[in-house]
Structure formats: C-alpha cells, structure tokens
Amino acid sequence: MTDSTDSTVRFSPLHQQHVDAGASFTDFAGWQMPVRYSSDLAEHHAVRTAAGLFDLSHMGEIVVIGPESADALDYAFAGRISVVATGQAKYSLLLGRDGGIIDDLVVYRTGEDRFIVVANASNREAVAAELLERTAPFDCEVFDESDDIALIAIQGPKSFEILSQVPGIVVAGLADLTYYRSIPGQFEGHEILVARTGYTGEDGFELYVAPEAAPALWRAIAETGAGSGLVPAGLASRDTLRLEAGMPLYGHELSLTTFPVQAGLGRVVNLKKEGDFVGRAAVETGPVEGARVLVGLRSDGKRAGRADYLVFGADGTEVGVVTSGALSPTLGYPIAMAYVDPAVRELGTDLFLDVRGSRVPASVTALPFYKREAN
C-alpha cells in the first residue's frame, strides 16, 4: 500500500546543510536525500574507523500512546512489545495477515504508556494505517509524527567520544546508555531522544529532534567531530555498511511476500506470546515447502552480484536470486545477499552468479559478513 495521492518531492529539514556540504542527491521514497558528499568509499571507511553523520529524517516516526498501548502493540507486531522496558528498544516486524512483511522497524518504549515506532520511509503510510486499524479495539491513540521529527545518526567507533563533547547537548547518563536503549535529553532547549541504535554494524547513536533544531544539532556534531575524523555520510555508504553487517533492507531482502523465517528473522517472531497477533496463523503454518531462504555469498575478484542477478548451482540449474550486492569496501571482496533454494543453503556450497552474462563463482558464507570487534 503506497499513498499515490502524494507525489510531491520532500526535503529534509537538513537539506541546506547537505547542499552546503556539496552533496549529490537521490530520490529515496519521494525524498531528496544525500547519496554521497564526496566519496562513498571514504564515507564508508570513516564510519568503520572514526565516525559518520547521517541524515535519516525521511524515516517515519509513529507514536502510540495510551494505557493499553503495550497490549495493542503485542497484537500489532510479531514480537512481544509489552516486555520492553521504558528506555528500551526492540527490533520487530509488522506482518500481513498472510505472514508477509509489511515493514521491519524499531519500537522504542519512551514511557509506561508511550511508544515510538520507527518505520522505513517507503512504508510510513502503510505502517501508520495498519497501526491505526490494529490498535482501534484498544485504549490508545496513534499519531504519525514523522513530519515533526528529524533524525540524525552518528555511527562509528568514535561516536560516543564525539557526542559526549558536543556543546549544547545535555543528556544525563549518556555514558551508561547501552545498545538498544534510549534516553531523553536536551539540545539548546529542545527536547531530544538519544538512542544507542543504528544500521551500520558499528557503535553509534540516533538522535530524534524537532526539525527546527536539527540544523544546529547537525552543525554542532559535524564541527565537534571534524577533528576526530567524522564526516557527513550519504545513503550510498549506508547501504554498503548495512550490507556488510548483514542487515536486511526493506524492498530488497524483505517484502510482502517474504516470510520472516525465510529472511532469517524467525527469532523476531514470538510464537510463545499469549494471545493472537496479526499474521500469527500464517507464520505458524509457515511458507511453502522448499521456499527460498536468505544466505550470504562471497566471491573472489572484484565483480559483485547485484540485485536481481540470478544464482545457479554447480550443475547450471537456477537456484536463487541476489537481493543486494557490492564489492565490500571493508573486506575487499564481493559480497551479496541472495534468496536460494534450501538445498544449497549450507555454508561452503559452491554456486555461480550470472554477472551480466559471465559466470562468477560464489560460495555460501555466514552472515554477517562483517562484525565489529567487541569493545
């Protein structure tokens, strides 16, 4: 479900910052967003070794509030949201009644009766509409606050060092904020929410802020981090970073016709929770026998499989299709995620990619491709 009535181009509240920084722009779900500032490889490496600053203001923020909001979200989502403590966050899925994935999202509990659901930009309207419908029987309300919330992420090993020095940010307990936790704070008199979450495979933070305060916050972080190697980073590097980290991207690895278990997200679906949730019956039955499953593939050389390239078995029969792929900037060899027949899912299985007519060998490898060293 996409909203076809809204065809206007949207601009981030940080658009002028990106123009000033010399960004190239790309359309992303109707938004003009920075794809890179100078070099997407340099931005990628900066996030792995120092820090990168991302504008994610296109993402959707839908607030669910009310005494029965936790119960409502247990029904709406595949995971058990009611056990999430205030200040905690949880990765979850919004399933269709047929078990397909409407969106993958992060749910933050910011109060006993208050949750923020962060949806992909392309699915914002669908998620808001589904939540409105699914929570209707419960004593709670749903507000799509996407237009009133900007989102800035700082990602990379130096994120904490930099963020803790940004003038104007007041957050009590930032040093104690652990992964997948959030804490309210202030920036120059504006309320912000600081979360230790991200989509790059590195340590980092995501800051939810009012649009009018976003430019000053962006500049403050950029200026504070410049001496530590922080650079603004665009969507091109965000995509190679998340791919290395084995994180699915909606529209590539996830879709309305993908069951969670196929995407390796069976753990996100809580079949032990009491009561019904949307999609439960379908995921309990599961996908059809032999349904393709998501695997990682690696190749030698430099030629990467790309989305929609076909995957073949050693005997030349088609066994799958690539959903994302790139020459890994960190690892130096081509990596890809692909849906393949279960018969060839075992690690080490030798397969071939059809890279624009040439057969490029690829072997099934464990996800994620890249994991940061524990600190």
């Binding site: 190239s24 070099s39 997407d40 490889l41 190679t240 430099k302 030629r303 790139a326 020459l327």
Partner: protein, 123 residues
C-alpha cells in the same frame, strides 16, 4: 590533462580526444560523479574491433554498474592498465589519468561539442 572544451562528447557521457586517426576515450566527470566511487573497470582487449554504440566495457562503483560504449567504429590500439589496477583514477582524474581506451578509426560519427554536452547535463 586534456582541455575539456577541446574534447568531443557523446550522450552516453564519454569524452574523446582526437589526434589524427586515434581517439582517446574516457568518461566525463559528470558520469564519474553519478556513478560514485569506481571500484572495478573492465576494458576490451587491444586489437579488438569495436562498433559505435556497442558495449565494450564496464565501470562498476559500489552502488551501480556503468557500461562503456564504443563512441566510434574502429580497433582498440591501447587500454589504460593503470585504471584497471587503480579504478579510483576514474573519479580522481576522469579527463586525464582516468582515460580508458584508445581506438583507431577511419570516420568520426557526429559527436557533441563541449557546449552541447554541457547543455545536455545541465551544468
């Protein structure tokens, strides 16, 4: 470094520097910028005959794949091995060290002037 306003261009974002019957071919800074960081370049073999408008090579960035089209009919006389070993030259010096192939030709097709190409890409 070739002077950009003395070069010929194609609508596929290639530039040509013509000396006698040899055209040196590369992709424009505009094309390199659109591709992003180039990480892999595949070029035809020396001696290969190429036909105008046909794909003769590939230029891959982290995000996408660009095809190199032969801008003229002819024979490849030289390829830039340096750019195969160091694909980043396409980004850092597209009109110079990042040249791709040299082609001997007998006849030049209609090509774009600097002004026409500049108008095409709107810059």
């Amino acid at each position: 470094m070739a002077l950009q306003n003395t070069l010929k261009y194609t609508s596929e974002h290639e530039w040509l520097s013509v000396q006698g019957d040899i055209a040196t071919v590369g992709i424009t800074a505009y094309a390199a910028e659109k591709l992003g960081d180039v990480v892999f370049v595949e070029l035809p073999a020396v001696g290969a005959s190429v036909a105008s408008g046909k794909v003769v090579g590939e230029i891959e960035s982290t995000k996408s794949v660009g095809e190199l089209f032969a801008p003229v009919d002819g024979t490849v006389t030289e390829v830039n091995d340096a750019v195969v070993a160091h694909p980043e030259l396409v980004n850092s010096d597209p009109f110079g060290e990042g040249w791709l192939i040299k082609v001997s030709f007998t006849e030049l097709p209609t090509l774009l002037s600097f002004d026409e190409y500049t108008a095409l890409v709107g810059e």
